[in-house]
Every structure is written in structure tokens, then in C-alpha cells.
Symmetry: C2
């Protein structure tokens, strides 16, 4: 009776399933559907169903009156061929929304509540606005320590969980916010050269000028299938690829897809998100880097301590061995900001080039040292020296080369943006502050991370003495419009304080 023929609509709606129904479809009015209604689409034969947001079509070429169109992701999720009969109905309201309303009203929720919410989110039963409601209810004032643990557990349970079959699987994570902080591309080869298993997957930049995946992509292929990634991890004990984590804590990806545009980043959500992903990826030992600085994500030591305690509480309960390291977040790490510039810094460190940025090298050695000390055979305090030996001896470079070859070396031209502008100090004096946010903003305006060669190259760091008119940094860009935007922004606020 209410059967329609399935049609694939070649529209990418990312993590929001969209269904298309013609306005003259006999079901449209009789069912009381409206645009933006949530509907349930069921394949008649298998009984498999998905939830989607409804768009109403007035063009037979897009969706005919006897058809039900699904956007690309929704079509893939239903997993049925075109022209197969499907039925549609009002989507049931997710049961766990009652728990979300209790949270909105200020109650604390139990593990069972978070499990119900995570299951419904994983099954795509929440709309974006329902997810936003959940996130806001859980933000700053809202999550108790136990609730962060419950949410983390619930996110782990609703996805796949990798088991590498080894007792020691290490990983590192930086909470972000500091440009140029490409320590992973140094830590991974160092730690793997020590023989530890570090199956690190990296992310692309969303709001920053470069993610590890964007920077690694200057040197090697990063878009690898999960199978290929696993094969590389088996052979190299490490990888620096992108993705392959979609099935791990999938609720986290869905929450992030709403958190990011909302610019929300509450401590509870952050801890749950990071730990769920790492535990699901099979990590047993984890080092967390928390940069502290006035323009970093964490402004002061007081907040950093509260965050560390939250990380420690949840990881202890999960049986994950975790070390939190506070680092200097008062300025960018290294010199380059942008994929090619950051790749240059990383290679200089690996190659023991005398021009290599000391702060990037030192930070990577500190963090790698902490990870190496997870090795029961390494004496407490001995990790740093081992890491330094591996780096100085060229073994880290050799391991990096092996990883690059395994992932697929990119041999294309790796030039910096053809347009260059030097931003000069307005007056002489000492550099007393560098604004991470403004420099990241200028690098993004210049074209990073899309244009690999675009970004900002720092010539001075905190404590340096500069003359009036001396270049503080160079802006590199590929396209004129980007170049102008970046220059104008730097003119309004160069990001450096000289006094």
C-alpha cells in the first residue's frame, strides 16, 4: 500500500541522511509528512531500515511521485539496490530523548542512560538538532565525572574495538590548539624504531591550518583502506595514515560533526571523545599532550590540572594506562604553519639538520621518551635518552622512510606557495607574546591546508630581540585572493607583541 521504489540521489549530505519524496507522491499528504520531518525508510524484503530527514521534491527528474530518493550516505546505509520496494513511515521518536530531556532539566544520568543514548545515536535515530540539544545539555556545567566515564564507555560499546593481540599498544594525542605542533610525525618513527607498536591514525585539519594527515600527505599517500593500514602497521609497527576509524566509536564522529560547527569543546566531551577513540583503536598505553598558554585551548595551569584529573579518572576506570604531559602552548611549535612548511620542519629534525627547530625536536623527544618508558624494560627516566639516540643515529629517519614507502611515496613538487610577503616588526624590542589563534587564522586565509605550500613561516619566536622593520614571518600563498586576505588580516593584527 505505502510502497515506493528506491532511488539513489547523487547528493552528498555527509552525516545527515536525507530522503526525497515528490510533493505529488500519494503518501506525502496522507501521512502528514512535512519537509524536515524525520522518516523511517524500510526495505520491504529484509526489514532493514534507516532514519532520514525528509526533503520534498517538485521535479520528477530528481524523484518521481512513485519513488523514494535517498542521498548517497543514506542509500549506502540502507544497502539495497535501486528500484527495490521500500515503505516509509514517521520515524519513531528515539526513546532515549527522554533521558536527554532529563539532562536538560539538570539531572545526572546513569550508565544505562548513556548506553541508551549512544545506541540511538549510533543507529542514526537522532537528528542534528537532537544531538545539539544533547551536547549543550552535557556542556561545561553539565557533566559529572562519573557521567564522563559512562559516556566514554557507551561510545566504546557502540562501535568496533580493535585487538592487536599484544600487551603493549601505545598511542599519543595532543588536545590541539597550537599551530605547527607536528610531533606525531617524529614520535611515531622514534617509538616504532624502538620496537613498540604505535598504530596511529591521524586526522585532517578541520579548523586548523594543518592536521598530521595533511602534513604527512606532502610526503606520502594517507588515504589508505583499513586493510592496507593494518598491513602497514603489521610490517612497520606504525603508520601515519588517515581514517580507518569510522567504525571505532562511531558516536564520537557523529557528536563531533555537530560540536565542530557549534564551536563547542567542553572538557567532558573532549575527554570522552579522545579516550573512547583510543580505547576502541586498541591502545593500552597513552600519552596526552596538553599545551598551556593564553591563546591555546587550555589557558592556565589550574584548568590543565582539572582536565588532567578528568583524563586520569576515566582512563583508570577503563584500565587504560595514561600519562598526561603539560607543554608550552604560549606560541606555535617549530617554524612552519601549513602542510609543506611543517613537513619541512619535521624532515629537518629527522635529518638532524642544524637548521631544525629546537623546540619541535625537544618536545617530540620528551613525549617519545614518556612513551618509551611504558616499555617495562626501560628504566624510569631513561626514555628521553633512548629517544634521542634513535633520532640522532638516523634510525628514526630510516623508520620514517620505511613508513613513507609502505604508504606510498609522493614524489610530486613540494614547493612553497609562489606568492610571498614578509610581515615586519613595527618597532624594535623583545617578542613578548605570539597569538596562536591569529597566526593559525592568517595561515588558513593564505590557503592552508588545501594549498599544501600555503601558510606562515616564523622567523622569530618568544624572547627573540628584533629591530623595527625586521621580518617577523613570511606569508606564503598560491592564489592572489588568498594572499590578499592573509596580508590584510596580518596588517590588522600581526599576532606578535614586541615591547
Amino acid at each position: 500500500m505505502n510502497t515506493l521504489l528506491l532511488r539513489h540521489i547523487a547528493i552528498d549530505t555527509y552525516k545527515e541522511n536525507v530522503a526525497y519524496l515528490h510533493r505529488n507522491c500519494k503518501l506525502y499528504r496522507s501521512e502528514g509528512f512535512q519537509a524536515l520531518s524525520k522518516i523511517e525508510v524500510t526495505e520491504r524484503q529484509s526489514g532493514r531500515s534507516i532514519i532520514a530527514l525528509l526533503n520534498i521534491v517538485d521535479d520528477d527528474d530528481i524523484t518521481a511521485p512513485d519513488e523514494l530518493g535517498l542521498s548517497e550516505q543514506a542509500f549506502a546505509q540502507l544497502g539495497a539496490p535501486e528500484r527495490i520496494p521500500v515503505s516509509v513511515a514517521h520515524a519513531p521518536v528515539a526513546d532515549s530523548l527522554r533521558q536527554v530531556h532529563r539532562k536538560i532539566a539538570g539531572e545526572s544520568l546513569a550508565l544505562a542512560d548513556y548506553r541508551a543514548i549512544a545506541r540511538d545515536i549510533a543507529a542514526n535515530r537522532y537528528s542534528k538538532i537532537e544531538i545539539a540539544a544533547f551536547l549543550v545539555a552535557c556542556s561545561e556545567l553539565g557533566l559529572e565525572r562519573d557521567e564522563v566515564l559512562y559516556l566514554t564507555r557507551a561510545m566504546i560499546e557502540t562501535g568496533r574495538r580493535l585487538d592487536w593481540g599484544e600487551p603493549l599498544v601505545v598511542d599519543k594525542h595532543c588536545i590541539g590548539g597550537v599551530p605547527g605542533n607536528r610531533t606525531s610525525m617524529l614520535i611515531v618513527p622514534i617509538v616504532a624504531a624502538h620496537g613498540m607498536l604505535i598504530p596511529k591514525t591521524s586526522s585532517r585539519a578541520i579548523t586548523s591550518p594543518a592536521g598530521t594527515a595533511d602534513t604527512m600527505e606532502v610526503l606520502a599517500e594517507v588515504e589508505l583502506s583499513p586493510d592496507k593500514l593494518h598491513e602497514i602497521v603489521r610490517s612497520q609497527r606504525a603508520c601515519l595514515g588517515w581514517g580507518g576509524t569510522a567504525a571505532l566509536a562511531p558516536v564520537d564522529d557523529i557528536l563531533i560533526s555537530v560540536e565542530r560547527p557549534l564551536l563547542m569543546d567542553s572538557p567532558g566531551q573532549m575527554v570522552a571523545s579522545i579516550l573512547a577513540k583510543k580505547v576502541a583503536a586498541g591502545a593500552t598505553h597513552l600519552v596526552i599532550d596538553i599545551p598551556i598558554g593564553p591563546t591555546a585551548k587550555v589557558r592556565d595551569r589550574h584548568r590543565a590540572l582539572a582536565l588532567r584529573k578528568l583524563f586520569e579518572f576515566v582512563s583508570d576506570q577503563l584500565g587504560l594506562v595514561l600519562e598526561v604531559v603539560f607543554s608550552d602552548g604560549r606560541q606555535p611549535v617549530g617554524r612552519g604553519i601549513g602542510p609543506s612548511l611543517e613537513a619541512r620542519d619535521v624532515l629537518q629534525v629527522l635529518e638532524n639538520d642544524p637548521r631544525a627547530p629546537v623546540d619541535l625536536r625537544e618536545k617530540a623527544l620528551q613525549l617519545a621518551g614518556r612513551i618509551i618508558e611504558f616499555d617495562p624494560d626501560v628504566r624510569g627516566g631513561g626514555g628521553y635518552a633512548i629517544a634521542r639516540d634513535i633520532l640522532d643515529s638516523g634510525r628514526a629517519l630510516a623508520k620514517m622512510e620505511a613508513i613513507i614507502d609502505a604508504q606510498g611515496r609522493r614524489t610530486g613538487p613540494n614547493h612553497l606557495g609562489r606568492l610571498r610577503h614578509d610581515v615586519a616588526a613595527a618597532r624594535g624590542g623583545a617578542v613578548t607574546a605570539i597569538d596562536n589563534l591569529q597566526l593559525a587564522h592568517i595561515a588558513r586565509l593564505a590557503g592552508a591546508p588545501m594549498d599544501k605550500g600555503a601558510g606562515v613561516d616564523l622567523h622569530h619566536k618568544l624572547g627573540d630581540t628584533v629591530q623595527a622593520g625586521e621580518p617577523l614571518y613570511s606569508i606564503h600563498a598560491e592564489f592572489n585572493a588568498d594572499f590578499q586576505f592573509a596580508r590584510e588580516s596580518a596588517e590588522r593584527d600581526c599576532g606578535f607583541t614586541v615591547s
Copy 2:
């Protein structure tokens, strides 16, 4: 440089503007757009721009690589012809989101903050998820009394405001939640017959089995242009049409489009929403009906009092004369639940039919009496008798007939659903409770409000004594599937308590 040709995409995305860009469009990767990004589309010539959510298209027939498609509402909002050059850019983050984040963090906001938020929402600068974040931040625990006033003012200021040029423009509003509560269709003709101006616009049902507009539509046309509505109000001193309010407090419509699917209904939002709409519509005197009952929106007198005080505080500050009336919300009003059944009840009352439901008549007279007492020439306490005289004398019926003729009489068949099932009492005794929510649910399952003749017809009310097997109510439906769903739901829970 980044110019595309505008194309109208015949997809209705309701209050969410959607833009379509081909994956091979040169701007797609170079700008770093992603599906679900918020983009700003600007018509090059006029500089006019709109904000839209981005969908990525993989089908040239929907959107070609040199085109920028806009969904129906987005296209109308930009107001430019097809093939005109447009540019696209990342949408700027609305400035007032900073205020929303302060609200999320638990701060109180000032009038200027609410003004900034309302302006950005009215200009479509908020995505659905940003609106959801704002609503949750403002919910139950979040809005102080002053903030409700600020939000109301800001919503009024960001839309049109009607001025009827008369000192006394009356209106009534029920906060809802009680089925069958069609008092407006009695109050409007009574009050207008007394000579008062009552330019009431009504809404269609969203979650209930019938709105006033759905019920009025059984008798007359309700979808009238704003001009036509105004003409009717001028000639009849009243109307019972639908819509024409989109330009009045438009922020309210946008907030409601997110509140409804979230099932949110916080007191602060409710008061701001109702009062902003009424003040913008030009009302000077308003009666608010708050039904109280265990299955009504307001459960007890304590909550009703808190809500009344909030209504009074805000309306006093706005210079709106307001009376709040508490009514009996323990059961549905009248007998019918569903458009045709409720229209029958209304006509029986207007026609002084001896079968007319007494509770509907009495409630309408009470409320109409309170409104009539806004007339300075009417003695306090004298309104009810005037209302009763107008009804008993047939003047209310005559006014209703005139309104129906002015809007356009519908003469089609007004039958009840052809399928009927009587739900019988499982045992004898007195009816001690009737569940508004369950009866509304059964009526909706039966097909109301889409099928005018579908719904529930009550044969007994609270306090009645029934025999085992005696019908409590009849279910009417037009279609078999609906009929079965409604019967099954009534079998699981008939909604009546007999003891």
C-alpha cells in the same frame, strides 16, 4: 573568479536553506568546503546574500560544475533569477554566537545580547543546530524573568508589527495540550458580535489531532492571503484564517521549527513566543487560557501560578493588558477530537442544539466574557451574561455565518470517517480519569487532522457512570491501516480509567 551560475533546485527544505555544489566544481576543494558547511551565497550585482547549508552533488543533471543550486526557499529568499552570477564563500560565524556560548556557560544575558541574537536568527545566520544550542541553553533552568522580557522584545523588534488604528484590539490564546478545545471558533464570533476587533489568526495542528485552522477548514477556506485576511477583519471585525503571520516575529517561527521536533516547551520560551506574536499582530488586550490537569501541559496549580506570573510580568512591561484564566484540563473539551467532529461540536453550540456539549459552551462563554470585560463600557462581572445573550440570541451564529461567507464557504461533503469502531468499558463504574495524551494519540493514528472525518468521538466524560461493555467512545477513520493502528493503540490503552 569564484563565480557560479544560479540554478533553482525544485527541492523543498522548509526553513533550512540548502545550496547544491557539484563535487567537480572548481571552488569545492579550493575553498575547503564540505557537505554540511555553512556557506554564504552572494548575488554579484546587488550584493544581496543568504546563508545556506551545503550539499555536494555528484550528478550534473541536478547541478552542473559551473552552477550553484539553491533549494526552493533559499532561491526565493535570494530573490534573483536563474543563470545570474553568484559567488560563494564560507559563511561568517554569527557574532552573537558568542552570547549563546555565554548563555551555555550559565551567564545571564542583557537586552542588547538578545537583540543581537534575534537579528542574526532573523537574518538566517543561525543553523538549525545553533538554534538548538540556543534553545537548550535557554530552557528550564536557564532564563531569568528579565531575560524572558528581553527575548520577547527582541523577537518583536525583528519583525513587522501591525497597527489596527484602534485602542482596543483583543485576542485570546490557549497554551494547548487539551484535545477538542475549539473555543476560538465560539469566542471570535461572540466577541466580534459585541463589536470588538478580534483579528485572530489560527494555526494548524502540528502534534495535536486538530488545530483551529484544520477545524475551521471543514466549514470555510482558511488559506487566505494577508491582504484578504485584512479585508475580512475590516469588514467582519474578526477572522478565523490561517497564516499571514510569517512576517510577525519571524524569529519565533524559526525557534518553533526547532523546538517542535525537539519536543521542547520551556515556560520562558512559551511566554516569549506567545506574547511576541500577539504584540506583533497588534493585540492590545489578551486573554490566556491555561488548562490544568495531570495529562495537560500544566500539571498542577503551582506550576500554573508560576507561568501566570511570568506572563503577567512580561506583558506588563510590554504595555499589553493581559488576563490569565485557569481552566479544567483534566479531560478533553466537548465530545469530538478531530476536525469534523470538533466542527460538529462548535456548530451545535452556535445553533443552541440541545445535544451541544455543555463544557465547551461554558468554557467559551467564560473566556468570551473575560474578553468582553476589556470593553470599558462593560461592568466588571458583566461579560459572561453579555456573551451568553449573544450566543443564545443567535447573533454569534449569524456572525459565524458571515465570517464563513467572507472567507469562502466550503460546501463539500462533511462526513465522518467511513470506518467506525466503538471502544467499550472493560468494567462498570465511574469514569475517574481521561488521558488527554492517549486520546489525542488515538485520534492522530486514526488519521486526524489530515483526514477531516477521522478522530475520536467521546460518549462519556469524567464522573459518568458506565456499564461494562458500554461504549466509551467511537474511533472514526477513512483508511484501513490508520483504523487498525488506532484500534490497536486503544486496545493497549483505552485512555479511560473506570473504577
